[in-house]
């Protein structure tokens, strides 16, 4: 799972505590970035599913709809189900937005750190995905 921090052989490059902390931060950000990508994928799927459910609901004309709560399907009147789906859609959409914002901020922070670290270490450090 390494995002490489290999150094090329030979150079006696001094690594200060500040450099180490930068590297640590970069590693943390990178991990968080991958977690966020998974979370975003999951949230997008959920959004799509809710969208499909909403559409199906419109197409069907049953009065009582079976709505999943926990492990069981509860019989609910249609309007209630519609409302619930709308609420869930909004909540999921909001959380998706938040996740995407966090991801963007992380990407820019990582770019900053890359600049700093490459400036100091040039070829001695590898910060790319392998």
């Amino acid at each position: 799972m390494q995002q490489g921090k290999s150094s090329s052989s030979g150079s006696e490059m001094q690594v200060t505590w500040e450099d180490q902390q930068n590297i640590n931060t970069f590693s943390r950000l990178n991990n968080r970035f991958h977690e966020l990508e998974d979370d975003i994928k999951f949230a997008k799927e959920k959004c799509d599913n809710l969208e499909d459910a909403g559409n199906e609901l419109i197409l069907s004309d049953e009065e009582m709809v079976r709505f999943q709560i926990g492990e069981v399907f509860a019989h609910m009147p249609r309007e209630e189900v519609e409302t619930k789906i709308e609420e869930m859609k909004e909540a999921t959409f909001k959380s998706l937005e938040k996740l995407q914002q966090e991801k963007e901020s992380i990407v820019s922070q990582m770019a900053e750190l890359k600049k700093v670290l490459y400036a100091k270490f040039k070829d001695s450090i590898n910060l790319e995905e392998d």
């Binding site: 921090k5 290999s6 006696e12 505590w17 709560i69 492990e71 509860a74």
Partner: protein
Amino acid sequence: AQMSSSSPSGSGGDDLSERRGIPAAKFIQDVETYLSQSGFDSNSALAFHQERLQQYKVVEMKLLAQQRDLQAKIPDIEKCLEVVATLEARKGTGEVELGCALILTACFKTFSLKDLISMLACEIEHVVSQNIVLASLEESTETSLRVSLLADFEVSEGIYSRACIEDTDSVCLWLGANVMLEYSCEEATALLKNNLENAKASLEVLVADLQFLRDQVTVTQVTIARIYNFDVHQRRVNQVTPTAIAAADA
């Protein structure tokens, strides 16, 4: 963190020397100083740090497993809360409902004729008893059977059954270890909320532990690379032909 310049091993100041049993990896200011002061030569220093790295990895696996468990537990508790909330919300709004039916959906199992007959016999009995209830209800002026929720639940894979859930003030919660306890709806909600809070708090602590651990892993990896480079550099300086080795694997 303040650099403790008086530290003899030439290491930088750490915020923590350990966290919940995980030792911190000391940052080395200068490799040469470190090697001469610790009495290590390059190889034994490398071996020491490699072993440390392995130990960190073992702990990381354990923490990741715990994290996965918690991350599965939290949605479970939230689902339970939702069910209790739904039951509470629908109290007193239900209509009198009659006739629960056993529904076989998408069931491809073939039954022996005997089994089928006995299943249907049960079903008929069931319907007959419902009819009796219906008759007595029609007679009485008070309807005592108020159902707040009709729910289809999975009996077995592909087989669902319908449950009429009456208005109720209490629910049963599965506490684990084959123990199920009845609670009033309010108590159940409070208990579940408490469990949820605890689980979320534990998860936060766990995530912080993992971050700390990963930092130590990174420091150790960089240390290994630096010792390795120093060693190569030394060999060159001492004009010993270095073996062509690829850079230390990060």
